[in-house]
């Protein structure tokens, strides 16, 4: 089973999409996603997939075509980044509101202006309330594995939500790493044939209306249904992960903990920088400091009860945000994690570092700085400054 390859993150996803062989893909190129879609387009041109590739004139049209194709009854995938995702914004809400299980890769990138093409989480974080499931990946392997599982999660009858698979631009999308991919037949077996049992438009014997006006008398009920679908996704995510583990040996949960069980000083982080942070945890442990880490995989639905339980024994927690929430009390994950921890009788002291904006990859020394700050906060018994920058020049 499987084979070992040297792929960039973008190659891994293009290969995964070839294996999944979706009915329709509507996409528009944007850095750092371009290479992914270029590769997938070559698979289409070479006749390696049956996918109808719709080369549209913008991302707004890309997501619109995806919505149409998914409503028609097809298995639909696309990919984007930053400005492209921002242009899809309006239609992302249509995908989730119409309950269409589109799978979209977001190669995370900073948003202009000023113009920057490198990795941070500003794009996905901005869309955190758009009703999409969001799965974050540390490396190309996880991105590939998450893509496979995303198809199953979104299509589950109790869920039926669009799913975004996220990984950091350039450091993951363009770096080659050793990874394992499944055989084509294994993927085919795992994702299964797409059976859209929920009123596809092309079932012309049973005509339905998609997207009618929904006013004061019904809109609230339909939003409440989306909340329930997110709740339903939680057990589905674990069930799909269990099945995937049987196939690959690679296990996934809502998050990964690293030397966290007896840790006093913790770090909460998402995406590629978790790899660097694990290295720092090891270095600190070697000097006798009880450091640990939690890397969140599933940001939406936010598994707050499990996250809280995993972090409850910490004395202090550095919460790392790779996106800013201007004018808020801190970055987007800081607000959610801190809020979740307040349900504890004795929550850990928390503080927030914004890092990695526009692809400024954190070094080992910088992650060390965040842990050192944690020790200071622990000694002081409080965090004087809640929201700070890890890497900014004064």
């Amino acid at each position: 089973m499987g084979k070992i390859v040297a792929y960039t993150g973008n190659q891994a996803i293009a290969e995964g999409m070839r294996q999944i062989n979706p009915d329709v893909c509507a996409a528009y190129p944007i850095t750092p996603q371009t290479e992914l879609m270029q590769q997938f387009a070559s698979f289409v041109a070479d006749g390696l997939v049956d996918t109808e590739l719709v080369t549209v004139e913008s991302e707004h049209s890309a997501m619109s075509a995806c919505v149409g194709a998914a409503a028609a009854g097809g298995r639909v995938m696309t990919a984007t980044s930053a400005q492209g995702m921002a242009l899809m914004w309006e239609i992302m809400y249509c995908a989730s509101g119409l309950r269409l299980p589109i799978v979209m890769t977001i190669v995370n990138r900073a948003l202009n202006a000023p113009l920057n093409i490198h990795g941070d989480h500003s794009d996905a974080m901005g869309a955190r309330d758009s009703g999409w499931i969001q799965i974050f990946s540390e490396n190309a392997q996880e991105a590939y594995d998450n893509l496979m599982q995303a198809v199953r999660i979104g299509e589950e009858a109790s869920v039926r939500l669009p799913v975004a698979v996220c990984y950091d631009g350039f450091i993951i999308s363009h770096s080659i790493e050793r990874m394992e991919i499944l055989e084509d037949e294994e993927v085919k077996g795992f994702v299964g044939p797409y059976q859209n049992l929920y009123h596809p438009m092309l079932d012309i014997a049973h005509p339905v209306t998609y997207g009618p006006v929904d006013l004061q008398d019904y809109y609230t009920e339909h939003k409440r249904q989306q909340v329930e679908a997110m709740k339903n996704a939680l057990p589905v995510i674990l069930g799909v992960a269990e099945e995937y583990k049987k196939l690959t040996g690679r296990g996934f949960g809502y998050f990964e903990t690293y030397r966290l069980d007896d840790a006093e000083i913790g770090m909460f982080i998402m995406g590629s920088a978790a790899g660097t942070a694990k290295e720092v945890v090891d270095e600190l442990r070697a000097t006798g400091i009880k450091a640990g880490l939690l890397k969140l995989r599933i940001f939406r639905p936010f598994p707050y009860q499990e996250v809280t339980a995993a972090l409850k024994n910490l004395k202090v927690l550095a919460i790392m945000d790779r996106a800013e929430s201007f004018g808020a009390m801190g970055g987007p994950t800081f607000n959610e994690i801190r809020s979740a921890l307040l349900s504890l009788k004795k929550p850990p002291l928390t503080f927030n570092y914004v890092y990695g904006l526009g692809g400024r990859e954190p070094s080992l020394a910088e992650i060390h700085k965040a842990f050192a700050r944690g020790r200071e906060v622990l000694t002081a018994g409080k965090a004087e400054v809640l929201h700070d920058y890890l890497q900014v020049r004064e």
């Binding site: 509101g97 119409l98 309950r99 269409l100 039926r160 929920y198 009123h199 049973h206 005509p207 339905v208 209306t209 998609y210 997207g211 009618p212 929904d214 008398d217 019904y218 609230t220 009920e221 339909h222 409440r224 249904q225 329930e228 679908a229």
Partner: protein
């Protein structure tokens, strides 16, 4: 539509889908009306200009004769009164609440 008749979130199709085709007929848009049309049969010659111009389907016609209004769907736009070729018009618009009994039209088809 009274509140007790509306379905809860567990009963509704997800995604705002409407599963019964052509059910807009059941939607009572007549509640939007501020003015209601009143027919003066003594003037009406059944030329059916009102039927032709009505942007809904609220002019009721039976065997080629204009018989009244579908008040469940008439939104009171007044186009029928305006396009009526008679002077004075065979249809006048009267403010809701000021219409007399007998001017009520037909509530449903």
């Amino acid at each position: 539509m009274s509140e007790s008749k509306l379905k809860g979130w567990k009963e509704l199709p997800i995604g705002g889908l409407i599963l019964e085709p052509g059910n807009s007929e059941a939607y009572n848009t007549g509640t939007w009306r501020t003015f209601r049309p009143v027919l003066h049969p003594e003037i009406c010659t059944h030329d059916l200009f009102c039927w032709l111009y009505c942007p809904d389907a609220a002019i009721l016609v039976k065997e080629g004769k204009m018989t009244g209004f579908d008040m469940k769907h008439c939104k009171g736009c007044g186009i029928c009164a305006k396009v009526c070729p008679h002077k004075p018009s065979a249809i006048t618009m009267v403010k809701e609440g000021e219409a007399e009994e007998g001017d009520k039209g037909k509530e449903t088809k």
